[in-house]
């Protein structure tokens, strides 16, 4: 396993090291002083658990670490560790994530702030490991907060944010960070690693308060309420998800003050949008090839930019509407599929359209499904996405032009 080759003091609060996205997550686990984590091998998540196992063996992390017998047990173990007040971490990928689905679904219902990563991977028939977002997206309606990382740095930063936001009493919901399998999980980048003291200033100790399951605090977790109270419980989840917007905004501001990172908005990352007519919209590592394409297109005089979504849940409707209303056309690039959905578009495409529906001034929105199964989104594909979006902006959009699959071999 790759280890940091060089440590450079960049300030009093952080040092710079070379590491993969998975190792950056492991660093966050160390900094957050996680109490319990559960492992079960599946690519690409396994690299996180190996890096964490090494930290424990090297005496750098004091954490109960259990290799579960499968993903379902993995998620059950941390859920209950969380109920008794432990800060926890867990993760999986693709079909492994789906095997844990029963536990995943009830974790949100129980309002237990488990922090997980989903190393995004195709839902194979055995054999496909490349990135696709449908594994994470499958939980989109259940009450999990879903941020998506672009860089190894963001893996670490979002993980620290995840504990802070998820464990906040106003939220108390689980968080699953999306990491594009391969592109992000296994490629090395320079990462600024906060010191422990600086992390402590950002991330308070986990305190479940009067919801702590303890002999001195006899309460019932997951009471049998039958149908009588279920609707009220669901409504509480809804309220918590609404409050999460402000809690994320607060956490982002504090993080930026301490570490000087995170951009202007907690929810969106904009690139060359100031004078743009057309923007790409997407999440995860997709931003990297799109930024290259933008620089090339701009050299030819095209006014194009990128808006990257950092939190898919809660969906930052106001911010998205405010941002995208400025442009003539938006090309939403989905690294996922949603068969049979409106206009046969991807998940993100339909969310963005729905968010903008009530606006009088709204851009033309074109949907693209690209890069499935980890297929690289190359420059010719990015150009095709641009051309189709720009054409829609000027020529009107026929029903058949709403959504396109890019880079499919016929």
């Amino acid at each position: 396993m790759a280890v940091a080759v060089k440590t450079k003091e960049t300030s009093e609060v952080q040092t710079e090291q070379l590491m993969t996205g998975c190792e950056a997550i492991a660093e966050a686990i160390r900094l957050a002083d996680v109490d319990v984590m559960a492992a079960f091998p599946i690519r690409p998540y396994d690299t996180v658990m190996q890096a964490a196992a090494k930290l424990i063996a090297n005496g750098k992390l004091d954490c109960e670490y259990i290799v579960a017998d499968g993903e379902h047990s993995q998620f059950e173990i941390v859920k209950h560790a969380c109920a008794v007040g432990s800060r926890v971490f867990v993760g999986s990928s693709g079909v492994g994530w789906f095997y844990a689905f029963e536990a995943i679904a009830v974790t949100a219902g129980l309002r237990l702030p488990v922090v997980a990563i989903c190393g995004n991977r195709a839902l194979d028939d055995p054999g496909a490991f490349g990135t696709e977002h449908n594994d994470s997206l499958a939980v989109r309606d259940l009450g999990w907060l879903l941020p998506w990382a672009e860089t190894a740095q963001e893996c670490l930063d979002l993980a620290l944010m995840a504990w802070r936001v998820g464990e906040d009493a106003r939220v108390s919901l689980p968080v699953a960070i999306g990491l594009d399998g391969g592109f992000l999980t296994h490629s090395q980048q320079l990462v600024s690693v906060p010191t422990r003291a600086a992390t402590d200033a950002f991330l308070p100790k986990f305190d479940l308060g009067d919801r702590l399951l303890h002999p001195d605090n006899p309460i019932t977790i997951a009471p049998q309420v039958d149908q009588d109270w279920l609707m009220e419980i669901r409504r509480q989840n809804d309220a918590a998800m609404r409050r999460a917007i402000d809690v994320i905004t607060e956490a982002h501001a504090d993080f930026k003050k301490l570490f000087g990172r995170g951009g202007d908005s907690p929810f969106l990352d904009e690139y060359m949008t100031d004078d743009a007519d057309v923007v790409f919209f997407g999440q995860g590592t997709l931003a990297l090839p799109m930024k290259v394409a933008i620089r090339r297109l701009r050299a030819e005089g095209h006014k194009v930019g990128l808006v990257r979504l950092k939190w898919f849940r809660p969906f930052p409707t106001d911010e998205v509407v405010k941002s995208l209303s400025r442009f003539k056309a938006v090309g939403v690039v989905d690294r996922d599929y949603s068969f049979g959905s409106p206009h046969y578009g991807g998940v993100l495409y339909n969310e963005v359209r729905s968010a903008l529906y009530s606006r009088e001034q709204r851009p033309t929105i074109v949907g693209f499904v690209a890069g499935l199964g980890g297929r690289e989104i190359d420059q010719s594909m990015a150009r095709e996405i641009y051309e189709k979006t720009a054409a829609a902006a000027t020529g009107g959009l026929s029903a058949g032009d709403q959504c396109h699959w890019i880079g499919v071999r016929e």
Partner: protein
């Protein structure tokens, strides 16, 4: 059985295979092909079913009726197949992680029902395909990517488990005794009822490397030493965390349990 043309039974378009040099699993594949030949199995009525992992990969190379299923579930696919088509000979290939961790529940219930299947569980104490994590058969003290300080938990005795769960034929073979293995696999397939075979295999790439046990040949020699140790009751004396200090645990091969189904 001599004179077998393995190539006639292998999917040549799948070669070269993905197994690492010195991996024990190839020895098991050859033994299985020899056993199938010795029984003169009707190739069109024999199905090889596997889950996920390096061992489960073997079915991809057999030029016959094969099914590569999801992680841990090979026995459920096989059970369904056998119920629907009882005339088929159904052989399951699984590993320690696939068959004893994520699929452990299916194993005990297949044994309890005593379904007429043959299950080969290749035990190399590790999840090879994902990079060498500790499997539930990893002996205490074993080094892996999830146990860099040595495994702390007790390991499964897969054969004892299968007997307790109700399997009517239970045997253990080893890759260092390939001819005995041929016979054990053939007896397992011929047996009516649930036949469980644990086969000691080796993962030189991860388990061997992390535990400094050498490459394939050295690991086979080590297996032989474990077979010789069998009469000494080392296993009983070993305590948690002391595996490497006391030497490898003894290994007993042969048919361990057999009763009419």
């Amino acid at each position: 059985m001599t004179g077998i043309e393995y190539r006639d039974r292998l999917r040549r378009q799948m070669l070269p295979h993905i197994l690492c040099p010195g991996c024990g699993h190839g020895i098991v594949l050859k033994a299985l092909l020899r056993a199938a030949r010795s029984l003169e199995l009707d190739w069109d009525r024999t199905v090889f079913v596997a889950g996920i992992g390096c061992s489960s990969r073997l079915v991809g190379y057999i030029d016959g009726c094969t099914l590569h299923t999801t992680h841990g579930r090979a026995l459920t696919f096989a059970t369904g197949m056998k119920l629907a088509r009882p005339e088929l000979t159904v052989i399951v290939i699984t590993g320690d992680g696939d068959g004893l961790a994520i699929g452990g529940n299916h194993l005990i219930h297949a044994a309890r029902r005593d379904v007429d299947l043959t299950c080969l569980l290749l035990n190399n104490e590790t999840y090879g395909m994902t990079g060498g994590q500790a499997a539930p058969t990893a002996e205490p003290g074993a080094i892996s990517t999830t146990t860099p300080g040595g495994a702390r938990e007790r390991s499964f005795d897969a054969c004892a488990l299968a007997v307790a769960a109700g399997a009517s034929f239970v045997a253990r073979g080893a890759t260092s005794l390939p001819l005995e293995l041929d016979g054990l696999i053939a007896r397992g397939i011929a047996h009516r009822g649930f036949s469980f075979l644990e086969i000691a295999s080796d993962c030189p790439e991860y388990f061997g490397r992390y535990n400094q046990l050498g490459r394939g040949p050295e690991m086979l020699q080590l297996q032989r030493r474990r077979l010789d140790e069998v009469d000494r009751t080392l296993r009983a004396k070993r305590s948690l965390g002391s595996r490497r200090a006391e030497g490898p645990p003894p290994l007993r091969t042969g048919v361990l349990h057999e009763r009419p189904a």
